[in-house]
Symmetry: C2
Subunit: 451 residues, 2 copies
């Protein structure tokens, strides 16, 4: 049993059921093993005779802000290895001429080092959990184990892989469920309705039910995909998922993007335990349109923040999607009065936790919650004068403001230094493969994008 | 005469008349006094027997990228003192219920310390020049003198100030033109057509002609303003400026925002030496719509990057407007193929220099240009692996990647340390006035927003 005392910080509190933000000033956070045990005013500790010698570790957090570690609800973390290789091209070319030819080069070891690099970048930005969707996920899981973060992993599979792909991903789930001391969970991850036929989606849903896990899938990424589905089959991609039983899995579904949702799709989604991953930097950059976040939430569908992969989003810095979500929803509504700062912070914390199925364990600093905590240094010139801490969190944060990162009660980044990984080694390992990774194989792609 | 040698860096080169980016690897930059004297391959220096002892200062820039200092073409820098005080409100309330009541509190000393704070933040982000538009501009000029940056200053005046305001701003221009060893220029700065009547605009234009200076003004900030002008007067705000002679000043006009430009406005603007300041973070956050950047540039009207003030943009980090310009223009066009990386970098460098009337002196690292140079450290996890330096500049940069800043041949920030100002003192001075500055004076505002 280990104990950690975080002394004399300010704590961001988000109300459980309403977008209300509040700051507790001058509090201590008591952590026992991997959970938050208590919050107490620093002065009260002194009165209660708290003895620093009783703790295994103490962090002097005077003047810092503690908030829940950020949760990236949809990414392809190892794609950092391809960062910058597919710029200024249409979505069709992005898939068919860049990513899917490039991914022919992918080897298991690339995924390990790419995952490590992306995790390092996320740790520096205060991201403590990620829902990842990629290939060679045993290597991704090993990287999570080493880096010390938390992850919900899905091995991306295509209809072309047939039942063998489903069985292999089921094996992966059984190997890694509750791995890394419980920090890893694993779900089914069929890629998308446009790369998985209906039988494959049905078989994936059946396997998820058998295993008692959720499903992480891309759907209705653009209005173009929705229109293509309507043209070809007369139903929307959301209807395809409903009809193939994807939403009937025992636990939640995690739907990436859904920028192409029609009003009737939202009515369908509202009936099921689904959450939506929202990656607005990718949407702007690929001109995918604005997802109807306000309408999703009005229908009771939770929305979480996401980076998507670094070949569309370029970085894994989740503060950018946070402010872009707020700003693009204002632009979309035609008024700055929607998506207020407390609402954006609610989505970034409690609601993102709900989207990955951990709303009762993550996304808040309160007794009983898992101790995934980040300490922020808001003394930089870009935060001064600090009239509004919450405005600074949404609109001013830079990764370098993240001072310390704690996951599952363990300090993995302290005073801006990694404690679980050697970034120089990781960067060298990735760089060593750069030439090979940047070769596109002509006329050879892992899939074809033709929704 | 002082000499500076920047050794063994990589240099971003942007072609003078086309959006083409290129990197020179392993070059030295020779600076004499305030200008770039030569660029030479590092190996060639050795062969030529260059002796480090011959230089007053040497920077070992091995592995760093040198690029022109960024140019912020429209800001209200001292407004950082109000940062975070007007969030999630409509433009009408932003002016009438927040900013204009708050600015009743403004004192000359606030502007000095606010300018220092905003300049510090910009230096940290690699911003070496700013076109600023605010009040108490003697204090702003003094701050620029101390901080060592470059500025084009305009004392904001309203029609309500009458001829006295115009005469006072003329005095300011004469006091500070070519001040701070030539780093300061000063222009006329009538606020906007909706706060300046036609006679006032005419008198401002006349004074600018007499003084031989340009005019920096807000115009057509939103389509709502354009429609209001059409309703009230039958002409657009751009037509108002044309008819009052604003565009006839001897030198260029700098127009802030212009999100509400009609096609016929663009035809008018194309006839005059105008430049447009583009601040897309403010536009998204206040739901002002997208400015037609692509159309401006197709008509030959130069566009520069801008932050606007920190009460709408929240930070003075110009890397954000850079990537937001690229992304919002893609979204607006409905395709990722427009506003490519080289085009965005062209706007950030040479074209922003043109917008502030210094296209032949700033915005490029080449012999004869002023030595405003920033050195970037692209080794952070968020840039790795560095398949594309130019993609990283547009989509991945964080202020903390800025390592060293040189303005007018002088190093003012080195290894992330300020050499011209004491940030702790500046932040303390600003914080000391926080309570007074945050008091809104009920029913008392410096102007009324009713375009």
């Amino acid at each position: 049993m280990t104990t950690l005392l975080i002394q004399n910080c300010n704590i961001l509190q988000i109300a459980p059921d309403a977008p209300q933000a509040n700051i507790l000033h001058g509090y201590d956070i008591f952590v026992r093993d991997n959970r938050i045990e208590a919050l107490r005013p620093n002065a009260a500790d002194e009165a209660a005779g708290i003895n620093p010698d009783d703790f295994d570790d103490i962090i002097d957090a005077h003047g810092m802000l503690a908030m829940p570690g950020l949760i990236n609800t949809h990414a392809h973390v190892p794609m950092v290895i391809f960062r910058g290789l597919a710029e200024d091209v249409s979505i069709e070319r992005w898939f068919n001429d860049y990513m899917w030819p490039l991914e022919n080069n992918l080897q298991a070891e690339d995924v390990y080092w790419g995952m490590m690099l992306g995790l390092a970048e996320m740790i520096e930005a205060g991201v403590t959990s990620v829902a990842d969707h990629y290939f060679y996920m045993d290597q991704a899981a090993q990287a999570v184990q080493v880096a010390g973060t938390r992850a919900l992993l899905g091995w991306a599979i295509f209809g072309s892989g047939g039942q063998a792909a489903i069985d292999q991903t089921a094996d992966f789930i059984q190997r890694w469920q509750n791995g890394a001391d419980g920090r890893i969970r694993a779900w089914m991850a069929p890629h998308a309705p446009y790369t998985c036929d209906d039988d494959f989606l049905r078989a994936s849903a059946k396997k998820a039910r058998e295993l008692g896990v959720g499903i992480h899938i891309h759907v209705s990424e653009t209005m173009g995909q929705t229109r293509a589905s309507l043209d070809k089959r007369g139903i929307t991609p959301i209807q395809v998922l409903e009809q193939t039983g994807i939403f009937d899995a025992n636990s939640a579904s995690l739907l990436a993007h859904v920028c192409g949702a029609l009003p009737e799709d939202i009515d369908i989604l509202a009936k099921y335990p689904v959450g939506i991953a929202h990656a607005p930097k990718t949407y702007l950059k690929l001109a995918m349109g604005f997802a109807p976040v306000t309408e999703f939430r009005a229908a009771g569908i939770p929305v979480g923040l996401a980076t998507d992969g670094a070949v569309s989003n370029n970085t894994m810095n989740l503060w950018e999607p946070l402010r872009l979500m707020a700003m693009t929803q204002k632009e979309r509504a035609g008024t700055p009065e929607v998506m207020t700062i407390p609402e954006a912070l609610y989505i970034a914390t409690r609601e993102s936790a709900r989207v990955i199925g951990m709303g009762d364990q993550l996304g808040a600093i309160e007794p009983g919650y898992l101790a995934d905590i980040i300490l922020l240094d808001l003394h930089g010139a870009h935060h001064q004068p600090l009239h509004s801490i919450t405005a600074s969190l949404v609109y001013n944060m830079q990764p370098n403001d993240v001072h310390t990162v704690i996951v599952d009660g363990r300090v993995i980044y302290r005073a801006r230094q990694h404690l679980t990984l050697d970034l120089t080694e990781v960067a060298q390992q990735v760089s060593a493969s750069m030439t090979r990774l940047s070769q596109r194989v002509p006329n050879k792609r892992i899939q074809v994008y033709n929704p």
